[in-house]
């Protein structure tokens, strides 16, 4: 692929991109397929930015211009979105993003030690890439695998129950070009560009690779089977029946304090403060103001 210099935007000239015609046509066909998934075309922007990363290895200026042109947006509007999300890279990314979870639980269980070790091992820090362009190192936030802590993600595949040594081994093998298998995921980690294309919604046919669950995921399932603990049987269905119909938890006499209508707040939507008459009046005044 030839990389042409990116043309700057001048007055009267909008969104010229530096993709050659063949590349541009191919990307446009992919973009059309993405747009077709949604009732409104702007919804295609996030997957299209993943598509740009699949092409260029980061959200390039020409990729931003391409998205803007295709969706009838300004490049500023596209950039505003691209800079909001941590998975969009603003400079060329390594072939593999290695993300060490240093949120509280993983950090305490050893994630901080892994982070120190892999930084020393690679000689780079957060959001930096090795000289050979193979590894971009990141601290990541909770990736929803806390029962496998400490967790490391490589191109968004799970590497569970890691140690400083195991991660050093993984990055060494990645740099030497060996296929590396995640703990739960595809048979081998795909490249950053390949994974970006999947995230744009283009199936790579690898869904049936790998396990369905690791050991912690099925601990409850296995324990229940060993003890013949079951959920109540579905009425009128054969099998799966259980005499244990009294699987009730501890009772409670407290009245529920449900949130307000359709609240998804992760706290009771009505707190003692909200329920005070002063708060009620303030809230009503606020609502009245919005009605006008």
């Amino acid at each position: 692929m030839t990389v042409e210099p990116v043309v700057g935007r001048t007055n009267g000239q909008t969104h010229r991109t530096a993709y050659d015609e063949a590349t541009r046509a191919r990307l446009a066909a992919d973009a059309d397929a993405i747009v077709a998934r949604y009732p409104q075309e702007r919804s295609a922007l996030l997957p299209m930015l993943h598509l740009v990363q699949a092409e260029d290895g980061y959200v390039s200026p020409r990729g931003i211009a391409f998205c803007a042109d295709h969706l009838g947006l300004t490049t500023a509007e596209v950039s505003a979105v691209a800079t909001f999300y941590t998975q969009y890279k603003r400079h060329p990314n390594g072939e593999y993003t290695v993300g060490v979870c240093t949120n509280t639980l993983c950090a305490v269980m050893g994630g901080d030690a892994i982070w120190e070790h892999v930084c020393d091992h690679l000689g780079i820090g957060h959001d930096e890439t090795t000289q050979d362009g193979k590894i971009t190192l990141e601290r990541v936030e909770c990736n929803a695998a806390c029962d496998y802590a400490p967790v490391v993600m490589v191109n968004w595949e799970f590497f569970d129950n890691q140690t400083p040594e195991s991660v050093a081994d993984v990055v060494d093998r990645l740099r030497s070009g060996e296929p590396v298998a995640p703990t739960r995921g595809a048979d081998s980690v795909a490249t950053f560009r390949e994974v970006s294309r999947v995230l744009a919604g283009f199936d790579d046919g690898r869904a049936d690779e790998g396990v369905g669950a690791g050991e912690p995921t099925i601990r409850g399932t296995v324990l229940a089977r060993e003890n013949d603990w079951r959920a109540p049987a579905f009425p009128g269905e054969e099998g799966g029946g259980s005499s244990r119909t009294a699987a009730r938890g501890g009772g409670s006499t407290h009245e529920p304090k449900t949130g307000g209508e359709q609240s998804s707040a992760e706290r009771p939507a009505t707190t003692a403060g909200d329920a005070s008459s002063a708060a009620q009046e303030k809230q009503q005044a606020s609502r009245d103001a919005k009605e006008q």
Binding site: V108, G110, C146, Q262
Partner: protein
């Protein structure tokens, strides 16, 4: 032993190729959909209301009631959006569910769409789990090939498209209106409510936003009936739920049990706190729920009891920390997370989380001042209830609760670094020698 496990969603997770449609159908999958399609849509809503199912994403709002809030059909589109953006620290139930058995979710999506009159449903999954995304795409394709998705589903005349959409890394998109903005191709920032999504949600059309586990619980309710579901759990917190044990516990993992089980019962099943150690503090439902201590081991884990004890059931993300753990270090790291994930839309959260992190970082370094605890609490008071969405509120929960139970550790931060009081290598699962003098305090700065 009192309460025992009730695997419903997790029942087939250990099966060979558990994620395939054939495995799911062998276990009775799609019987719920067949039953639903033979009912009036309104009766499906009533059945879910009667089951008492409440939102499994944290807030616990009654699911059927949420569906019932949609205005009467006006001929225009109505949408179902599944919140699969699981990112709350400690929460790890929806991601393994979708990896092991995505069809539970897909069947739930189809039934729910039928119930609310939706013909195009969306699953918004966080982008940082590529194999889960692959499994979801494949699950929709398999369901389509079997006639469960598309036009005239199972000869019912009901049509449905499902789009699985990958996010791009932003915790705030777990907030339902931020998720809708993100799905519309915008920065994921929360919207002012009202209007609520039921009235003006995706593309300003009536929209239901539900958590993965909530929707995945719907097929079982259709299959077994409301009374079947209510055989599990408590009177006000009915049904089964995934309890995720992590941290300093002998056998961490997913344990599906009736709501109202206690941590003591769950810890018994999981082999207890790691050998030679004892429980110090834990979260009942992720980092945004106020922490508990050993005195709360017997609190029934249902919405009401956890609330009455001063916290929230949240996502049943039970993060267990033993006596080696510095509560100051734990809370500082969570605060750095909220600071990093604050979307910047409202001032109390944007500024407040930065201030909180700075104060906590100096306490962690042993350089706090005697006024810092009061300063922290004052900052929390200025964020709680004043932020645009629940992220700001959540950021204050670990701080205020930790000061309540472990004030002396914060006071010690005026003269002694947290990693001197609690050497971090004692908390880790493996032996290592920490870098001397290089405290990680402020790694997110």
């Amino acid at each position: 032993m009192g309460t025992t496990l009730t695997p419903v969603l997790s029942d087939r997770w250990d099966a060979e190729q558990s994620w395939k449609l054939s495995t799911y159908e062998q276990g009775g999958g799609y019987r719920g959909l067949r039953r639903a399609l033979g009912m009036q849509a309104a009766d499906v809503v009533t059945m879910v209301k009667d089951s008492g199912l409440r939102g499994r994403g944290g807030a616990g709002f009654p699911t059927g009631m949420k569906w019932g809030f949609l205005p009467a059909p006006d001929g225009g589109p109505r949408y179902l959006v599944v919140n699969a953006d699981e990112s709350e620290p400690g929460t790890c139930k929806d991601i393994p569910l979708m990896l092991a058995s995505p069809q539970d979710l897909i069947e739930g999506v189809i039934i729910t769409s039928y119930a609310i009159g939706c013909h195009h449903a969306f699953v918004y999954v966080r982008g940082e789990v590529v194999h889960v995304y692959r499994r979801l795409l494949a699950a929709v394709a398999e369901a389509r090939a079997a006639g469960y998705v598309g036009t005239d589903i199972l000869g019912s005349g009901f049509d449905l498209e499902i789009t699985v959409h990958a996010g791009a890394g932003a915790y705030i998109c777990g907030e339902e209106t931020a998720l809708l903005d993100s799905l519309e191709g915008l920065r994921g920032q929360p919207r002012l409510k009202p209007p609520f999504p039921a009235v003006a949600g995706l593309y300003a059309r009536p929209t239901v936003v539900n958590n993965v586990e909530s929707i995945a619980s719907v097929p079982g309710i259709l299959r077994g009936g409301a009374d079947w579901f209510k055989q599990m759990g408590t009177e006000r917190s009915t049904g089964h739920g995934l309890f995720s044990l992590s941290g300093h516990v002998t056998r961490p993992g997913q344990y599906e049990a009736p709501l109202g089980i206690t941590l003591r019962e769950l810890l018994d099943m999981a082999g207890g706190v790691r050998e030679g150690h004892e429980l110090k503090f834990w979260t009942p439902g992720g980092s945004s729920t106020p922490i508990f201590t050993a005195e709360h081991l017997d609190v029934p884990l249902d919405y009401e009891s956890v609330g009455a004890a001063g916290s929230m059931l949240g996502t049943r993300a039970l993060q267990i920390f033993d006596e080696t753990t510095s509560v100051v270090r734990a809370v500082t790291r969570w605060t750095e997370f909220y600071k990093h994930e604050s979307c910047g839309k409202c001032t109390p959260c944007r500024e407040g989380t930065f201030w909180l992190a700075q104060v906590l970082q100096r306490i962690e370094r042993g350089q706090g001042t005697p006024q810092d605890i009061d300063l922290l609490l004052d900052l929390c008071d200025n964020i709680l209830g004043r932020a645009f969405c629940a992220l700001g509120d959540g950021a204050t929960s670990p701080i205020t609760s930790a000061v309540k139970y472990f004030r002396e550790e914060f006071e010690a931060g005026c003269h002694t670094p947290a990693d001197v009081l609690f050497p971090p290598e004692r908390s880790a699962l493996f032996d290592y020698r920490p870098r001397s003098g290089a405290a990680l305090a402020g790694v997110h700065a």
